[in-house]
Amino acid sequence: MPVLVRMTISGRGCDGVKYSYYPGCSLCSTASEYNLSSEAICARLGIELQEIPDWNCCGATSAHSASAYLSVALPLRNLILAESMGLDMVVPCAACYHWQRVAHREVVEGTPVGRKANEELTEVMGRGYKGTLQIKHIMEVILQQQVLDLLPEKVVTPLAGLKLAAYYGCLMLRPAEVVAFDDPEQPQSIDNLAKALGAETVRWSAKVDCCGGSFTLAESGVVGKLTADIVSAARRGGAAAIVTACPLCQANLDTRQKENEVQMPVFYITELVGVALGMPEARRWFRKHIVDPVPLLEELGLL
Amino acid sequence: MGDFKPQIIAFCCYYCAYAAADVAGSLRLQYAPEVRVIEIPCSGRVDPVVILKAFEEGADGVYVAGCLEGDCHFLKGNIRARKRVEYIQKILSELGIEPERLAMYNLSGAQGDRFAEIADEFTARIKKLGPSPVKVGDSL
């Protein structure tokens, strides 16, 4: 980590980097802190996000189980909206990212479902999807070289002393041929970004394990076991907190820790970027967590 | 017995023990300097006369080193050698020479470490046994 120089707030930004922004349902409810932090840090880094007007739910964790068609058609509407904005799409939610990319691929590859959905949406919306968009996870956007180059001057509070377990979960990385922006088995992007912020990440093996996703309601027992395994693996790895880039993962890990154990904060990576950029509103994001991360950050002098 | 420097002869098969001694060399493994190697084409070549002659001349210890069992370059020479060594050991004990002064070892041509180990091991054994009774008899 290079020595960081404290800079005035109005530093250089990534001028001209503009995206259409798809927050998705979770970020408007259970993961609102993810939304707030994503928007805030992008603004600070000079990445312009334009929310897609009138976006709809991508169907995420449920549509596929009922209808393969629906799981493509719902996200496709968002793609069409974004395409008409002429801006590549940024998605913070891993599940939404996954499904938006699936829909894109089905259309571009002209699979039966993709073709059908595009035809019918053309009818419904008066225009179809041409397949010109790039759909990026917010991690990808921050990990672009030009953004990374900015970090040394923008980071005012290097996350020194913060030992993190970087947790990726399922949908951001799998299946590799749809969502590949990192190694599907030993991903490093969150680790790399966390390190670029001055934090330390631990070696652990539960990075890509499944947290139980949407079963938190229907099969809380299953989710309880899976999250317990992940949290305890992080703990054995020596981490003080977990960092994710998925609202489902964060929610499961944050809410389903065993009551009789020391609770481990679970961050969104964007929140940590915010902390490192010295954004005072971070405290507001943390109020939304079930396991309060503030004591840890204060202890380390990061807040 | 402190300055007893035993004289030890090792009959080494060209394909394994002799090769292993070379490997020990290229790895610079240090071992007891008492051993004198005599190269033979196969451990199966050793015959009672040569070994007994060595004791007669004053060797404090003799060992035969051949390939690992099943590995003999000439199929079964090392098995024959082992049998022969066992037979000569019997003769030695009848002659009043400790049969432990004669041994058979098996090692592969890559086992430089084992070669050095054997040299040390056998030298230590002979040092413990002291000079050969043949020799002691001589000096009387």
């Binding site: 054995r236 | 020990a24 070549r45 040569v50």
Partner: protein
């Protein structure tokens, strides 16, 4: 060979061999020994290839290096093999028979003719980099030797990492280092090219789920081999990289990067060696640490080779656990470094904790394959290996360019050696007209007759720079040596092996009228041939030389005791002097060779061997006891990898019958054989007639047949048939569309008590038959009940195709075989399916039994006649399971085809051709040289006790007409076992006679002064 006709007259009698692994060396030595000049180029600094990295080899657990060492030095010392290291083929111009090979040679920056391999340079070199030879588990310097036994035993500089500090140059007193060496481009004129660049290992760190490269205690199989090796990074000790503790629980994970259809990292084929490699590594690890618990996670145990199943069964008996389940991922407990593996058994998922995990990483085409293919103008197959035919395994797409070894596809050492020989035969067929035209024959001055002269010994003591002189007091040794009886004088050399020193030795021999020489220097293993050569050039018999190893076995290993090292050096010199005085000149006597072959058995192997030898210009007698040629091939119908066995059969029979060099005897049996290598006399019974033949070699190709079946209602219900019956049925395609359900049962009579081996061809044949069924009748239900599916190598693809087409494979256990009942509509087959934990009832209109392959009838009798050992299964036993798969202990006799072990047609053809190459090393010579260090009988002492007859591993001694033992000098291998065993001391082993050995002993004790000094 028709496409080559016409070039023969102008052909060049030299062959380029690319690759210095075992395949390349085998091809090169077969060719060099049969009259061709060979250029061998290899990327590496040393010969050896992959085998040099292995600790032991399955299924005999023989030390890999012990096998390889003599092979490497042999290749280096063969005058007709010109070895170029750090070289690659960059272009190949011209026609078969007359190519110009453009070879790029990269500098070693070390002059090979000067480097003594002392290693002082490496000691001072400040650069340390990961040692790729040890899988990165240790470090080496920028100037280095790949491995301790490297051949040539010379150092080389890795320029990429060298910082140019020149420390090495300063320390190298041999002045061997030249940092300014430049790459060279050579144009070689050759008649044929053999490509043997081997294969690479799959980089298992690409599959992150297994954690290699992330978790320190996950290693690859090659890294584990290096750990097991006593010259490896851990000196043969197994420990966990994280904490250097001995692992107590070790898991092996199979099929890593093989049999994988999923993404860019996977390979569809089976890597064919990793199952056995893991079993072997497990066995050896357990030998090191008996308390170690080893589990191998696998899917199908591919133990399809000769004696492999036995090996696996022994491993099981030793407590190695085989768990059928491929592993999804390895998890590490970062606190302990332990590794967690989950596996599924009988519908339950268990998690087990291990201290170390070894990944059975598969094989990949050599990294250089693309470049090499472009340069050589050949095509690669879909997997990036050389494209060769099912029935032409060594022929590439470019005539005159052949492939061998791992480059053809994943295979083990014996198969590699077989291909090496087969490729040599292919080249020799093409170039037979030019045989001998480029061969280099060295001429020496007339040998002086010194038989009855008093010994006049000259001793040359080497300093080897400071390698010897740095520890041993060389002048003292020189002084001592010159004081020994019979020694005329002793001389000191800085580097005895330097060209100018050798010249000087010759002059001294002349000047001082020396008749015996002792060189006190390094090892006979590396330097004896060089000094023998010098003696021959000086007109002395080469056996008048002795060496004393005062470097590798003295100065290097007693650094801390210079005085005692000096004493030892003196002793060793005295012993050498003692012996050399007793040495006798030995001469190699030429014995004539009858340049014809007898081939027994006219199956595909025998026919292929006959055609190869006939194309090479030798007469062949082909003996077949049946009234027709082709053996079991007559009963195969279905195409194999696109090639039709019916066409093959027709073509080969036609070629054999029409070949002017081949005489066929049908309905004939060999009844008597006498003579020796180079000159056998045999008697055939041909119908009523008796025929006498005279020939130089025998090739045995008696093949196999289908084992009789007991059980499974065979013979009782005609809806149960054997796999050969099924071939015919499918070939004739009658009523196949009427079938609803067909069940195949695998391993019938194979792999069980009494027949503990795999018949190798049945799994593949079944898959082929199932596919053919599905093709002829897509609606048919096909079930294959198997124990392990052994579609090794590229045949894995057929297995996948069969599944895709809907063939259902059901695994059964030997304890719970399928049960058959005759019903009126169908044969009911009950089988338990572990893949869904249910008993299934299948109603089959046809049940096909995968019957075992057994040796042809009467093979023991023939083997007895030819002195070929037979194993408990009736297959013929080769000299060396690994390096001499086609030779047998009896000199001049070779084996090939299914008589050796069950094998496919293509494999039998490779063996047939390989056996021809082996035979040609004898037939190509008008005379064999016999004698040298061999056993000799003193008839007056022999009591005809038969001891020697019993103990000789090669069956050489026989009791002759005058009732004393006779040992044929041509056949004797010189092991000395008989000499050691003879109770009457009637046998001497020349050059190692008892008085020579005792003289060494005596000299040691006469030199008591030295020892104590």
């Amino acid at each position: 060979m028709s496409e080559h006709a016409g070039v023969k007259t102008k052909a060049v009698g030299a062959v380029l061999v690319v690759g210095g692994g075992i395949a390349g060396m085998q091809a090169a030595s077969d060719l060099a020994e049969s009259g061709f000049l060979v250029y061998m180029i290899t990327f590496d600094d040393s010969l050896g290839g992959r085998m040099a990295k292995l600790d032991k080899t399955f299924p005999t657990n023989e030390c890999s290096m012990c096998l390889l060492g003599p092979k490497m030095t042999g290749s280096l010392n063969q005058v007709n093999i010109k070895l170029l290291t750090r070289a690659k083929l960059s272009n190949l111009l011209g026609q078969p028979g007359r190519f110009t090979a453009v070879v790029e040679r990269y500098p070693r920056y070390v002059d090979e003719s000067r480097c003594t391999g002392c290693g002082q340079c490496a000691e001072v070199c400040p650069v340390k980099v990961a040692d790729e030879f040890n899988g990165g588990l240790s470090q080496r310097r920028a100037i280095y030797k790949q491995f301790p036994q490297a051949v040539p035993n010379k150092f080389a500089i890795d320029k990429e990492n060298c910082i140019g500090c020149m420390k090495c140059v300063k320390v190298c007193t041999a002045k061997a280092i030249d940092h300014r060496q430049q790459p060279e481009i050579l144009e070689l004129s050759v008649g044929a090219v053999i490509l043997a660049p081997g294969f690479d290992s799959f980089d298992a760190s690409l599959l992150g789920e297994y954690g290699m490269g992330y978790y320190p205690n996950v290693v690859s199989n090659i890294q584990f081999e290096r750990m097991l090796s006593s010259t490896g990074p851990t000196g043969g000790r197994i420990y966990r990289p994280s904490d250097r503790k001995i692992p107590r629980r070790v898991a092996f994970i199979q099929c890593v990067g093989s049999r994988d259809y999923r993404n860019k990292y996977g390979a569809e084929y089976c890597s064919a060696v990793c199952c056995m490699a893991s079993v072997k590594e497990a066995v050896i690890a357990k030998e090191h640490h008996p308390e170690m618990e080893v589990t191998i996670f696998y899917l199908d145990m591919r133990a399809h080779g000769k004696n492999f199943d036995r090996y696996v069964n022994r491993a099981l008996a030793q407590g190695i656990k085989l768990q059928r389940c491929l592993i999804s991922s390895v998890k590490e407990d970062p606190a302990t470094g332990n590794l967690n593996v989950s596996y599924c058994e009988q519908g339950e998922v268990y998690t087990a904790d291990f201290d170390m995990v070894v990944l059975g990483a598969g094989v990949r085409p050599p990294g250089s394959a693309g470049q090499l293919a472009r340069s050589a103008g050949i095509e690669l197959n879909r997997y990036g290996f050389a494209r060769t035919g099912e029935f032409n395994p060594v022929e590439t797409t470019r005539p005159g360019v052949f492939a061998a070894g791992g480059f053809i596809g994943p295979r083990d050492i014996p198969e590699t050696v077989v291909n090496g020989s087969a490729a040599a035969a292919a080249a020799a067929e093409l170039l037979s007209a030019a045989r001998g035209s480029m061969e280099q024959v060295v001429r020496y001055p007339r040998e002086k007759d010194l038989q009855n002269r008093q010994p006049r010994v000259g001793v040359f003591v080497c300093c080897c720079g400071s390698n010897i002189a740095g520890v041993v007091d060389v002048p003292a040794v020189v002084k001592y040596a010159s004081s020994l009886p019979a020694v005329v004088n002793a001389w000191q050399f800085t580097y005895s092996c330097a060209q100018e020193s050798l010249q000087r030795v010759k002059e001294i021999i002349e000047q001082y009228q020396l008749n015996r020489v002792v060189v006190a220097a390094c090892s006979v293993r590396t330097h004896l041939p060089l000094f023998r050569e010098t003696l021959k050039q000086a007109g002395l018999n080469q056996y008048y030389l002795e060496m004393a190893n005062i470097r590798d076995q003295c100065s290097w290993v007693h650094r801390d005791y210079p005085r005692r090292a000096t004493a030892k050096a003196k002793d060793l010199v005295a012993m050498a002097v003692g012996k050399v005085c007793r040495n006798q000149p030995l001469h190699l006597e030429p014995v004539p060779v009858e340049q014809k072959a007898l081939v027994v058995g006219a199956g595909i192997a025998g026919m292929t061997a006959s055609l190869s030898l006939a194309d090479q210009g030798y007469g062949v007698y082909l003996v077949e006891r049946r009234p027709y040629l082709g053996g079991l091939l007559n009963r195969l119908y279905l195409p194999q990898r696109g090639e039709n066995p019916r066409d093959l059969l027709r073509q080969k029979i036609e070629a054999v019958i029409n070949h002017p060099n081949i005489t066929v005897y049908k309905e004939a049996e060999l009844t008597h054989l006498s003579g020796r290598i180079g000159s056998f006399h045999s008697t055939l019974q041909v119908g009523e007639k008796t025929v006498h033949l005279h020939h130089g070699v025998v090739i045995t190709a008696t093949g196999n047949c289908e084992a009789p079946v007991r059980g499974y209602l065979y013979g009782k219900d005609n809806r149960v048939i054997t796999r050969l019956e099924m071939e015919k049925y499918l070939g004739e395609n009658k009523n196949i569309d009427r079938l609803n359900t067909v069940v195949f049962i695998q391993c019938v009579e194979s792999r069980q008590q009494g027949r503990e081996y795999c018949s190798r061809t049945c799994c593949v044949q079944t898959v082929r038959q199932a596919l053919a069924l599905k093709e002829l009748n897509p609606g048919v239900n096909v079930y294959v009940l198997y124990r392990d599916v052994r579609t090794y190598g590229f045949m894995e693809r057929d297995y996948r195709l069969a599944r895709e087409k809907g063939v259902i494979f059901i695994n059964y256990d030997l304890d719970k075989p399928p049960v058959l009942r005759s019903g009126s509509e169908a044969v009911d087959v009950d089988v338990y399916d572990p893949a869904c934990r249910e008993e299934l009832q299948l109603a089959a209109e046809l049940v096909v039994l995968a019957t075992a392959a057994v040796p042809s009838e009467g093979v023991e009798k023939l083997a007895g006649l030819l002195k070929i050992p037979v194993n408990e299964d009736g297959f013929l036993v080769e000299t060396h399971a690994k390096l001499a798969p086609l030779d047998v202990p009896a000199p001049g006799v070779f084996i090939c085809g299914a008589a050796h072990s069950p094998q496919s047609i293509g494999e039998a053809m490779a063996q047939g051709r390989g056996a021809a190459a082996r035979a040609a090393t004898i037939l190509s010579k008008a005379h064999l040289l016999a004698g040298g260090a061999v056993a000799r009988v003193l008839p007056e002492k022999c009591a005809a006790c038969l001891t020697c007859v019993r103990v000789c591993p090669y069956g050489v001694p026989r009791i002759g007409t005058d009732n004393v033992a006779e040992i044929s000098a041509v056949q004797c291998q010189g092991c000395g076992t008989c000499a050691g065993a003879c109770p009457n001391r009637a046998i001497t082993l020349e050059h190692y006679r008892s008085e020579q050995l005792t003289e060494k002993v005596r000299a040691l004790f006469n030199g008591e002064v030295a020892s104590s000094g």
